[in-house]
């Protein structure tokens, strides 16, 4: 219980700090919009094209916009030695990781939930037909993005070219999750239900989230103190 309390303290701190300035979330919204706009020039949004590319397009937007939030996550702690203060605080590394990850999760999910209707409007796609399965995919995929992004944000916080290194390291590790999320999203956005062979992607997403969250919890102390 104490662990959860500590996690909540970190999560609320991060969310409160973000809500007061809204830097990362505004930049992320704007970036998602820009990418959606640019991608609309790349394709003729006909029914058939959209059925094929919607999943991929959505997750590219989500991943790129999410990286902006994730970069800020630990970068925000650099001025005034806040990172040292966090490391010295009497909370275990895993609690710090979970706190930051949950705050990032909320922020990235907010951006995605705004980007989805915009996507629907720009590309003339009725994406609400399989709403709850789609939400499940979004939540699972975003948690995968967040957990890996948070620990890599901690890893890259002090190295030069941090803004470039974070995407470079995170995206390849994310690929299995993206594979599953894109295929499922493409199906669900076009209104089809997920059946038969395709349910393996859900298992992949679950497994991916569990494996990498556990790994991140175990390795967070090493990253903070290394």
């Amino acid at each position: 219980m104490r662990f959860l309390g500590q996690v909540m303290v970190i999560t609320m701190k991060d969310l409160r700090a973000e809500m007061r300035t809204k830097e990362a979330i505004n930049a992320s919204f704007a970036f998602a919009l820009v990418v959606l706009l640019l991608l609309s020039f790349a394709f003729e949004p006909t029914e058939d094209t959209m059925r094929e590319i919607s999943g991929g397009l959505l997750w590219i937007v989500f991943t790129f916009a999410g990286t902006l939030v994730l970069n800020r996550s630990f970068a925000r702690e650099l001025p005034n030695d806040c990172l040292d203060a966090l490391i010295a605080a009497p909370i275990p590394g895993p609690a710090l990781f979970l706190g930051k990850a949950m705050a990032n999760f909320v922020l990235i999910l907010a951006v995605e939930l705004v980007a989805l209707p915009v996507f629907g409007i720009f590309y003339n796609v009725r994406w609400t037909r399989q709403f709850w399965p789609l939400m499940l995919v979004v939540v699972l995929g975003t948690w995968g993005l967040t957990s890996i992004g948070t620990i890599f944000s901690a890893l890259t916080v002090n190295i030069r070219l941090r803004e470039v290194m974070l995407p470079l390291l995170v995206y390849p590790v994310l690929i299995p999750m993206l594979l599953g999320a894109m295929r499922l999203s493409a199906l669900l956005v076009s209104g089809q239900a997920v059946t038969g062979d395709d349910t393996i992607w859900f298992k992949l997403l679950f497994g991916f989230d569990i494996i990498f969250t556990s790994l991140a919890l175990v390795l967070m102390d090493t990253v903070l103190l290394g």
Binding site: I148, I151, L155, N158, I159, R160, L161, M165, L168, L169, P172, V173, I175, P176, I200, I211, F212, L215, L219, T222, V223, G226
Partner: protein
Amino acid sequence: MLVLAAALLAGNLYVIAHLADEMRQGQIFRIIFFHVPAASAAMIGSAVALVASVLFLVTKNFKYDALAVSVTEVGLAFLAVNLVTGSIWARVIWGVWWAWDPRLTSALICWILYAGYLILRQALEEPTQRATFAAVYSIFAFTDVPIVYFSIRWWRTIHPQPVFFSKTGSFPAEWGRAFGLNMLAIFLLYAALTKIRLRQEETQREIDYLRRTVHAF
């Protein structure tokens, strides 16, 4: 060790060149003698890198860090060989240089992950931090490797089904010996190159130590 590897390879090339043509594939089948061992060597290499990374995090002994980076760097080269030979084979048999099926894609992802490992190492200057963070990244990267191996069984794929462990493939007996020898040769080559790289790492550390001693850093 390098001499032994070279000798084995040279001998095997002779054997392979004189094997009878396979029925359906013509000359190009011979590429499997290099393509598959390169892949296996890279896989074993990444497993060694994982063990070395974990051991470094546990013991903080830098020789494990040196082993991890050597094995990964050589593995990157062998994985590149795997991808390129696969591409050449694909162009001849399937008519395309590349196909986005899970097996090929996973191999490419593996390559990118380990390239990322090396790029991360370059970005970190302080040796302890570099070793620690690289070890953490290596652990994350390794979890992709099983997906490469199992993807051929999990997803529909156009990659040929594994020949040794399934009932549907066929592999004539006289090839087995040449294949086994070539596998050994390539593994030895891998070990020899790793040893060379390891010696480089040790020398680098010694130079750093000497520099620190005379305050020339």
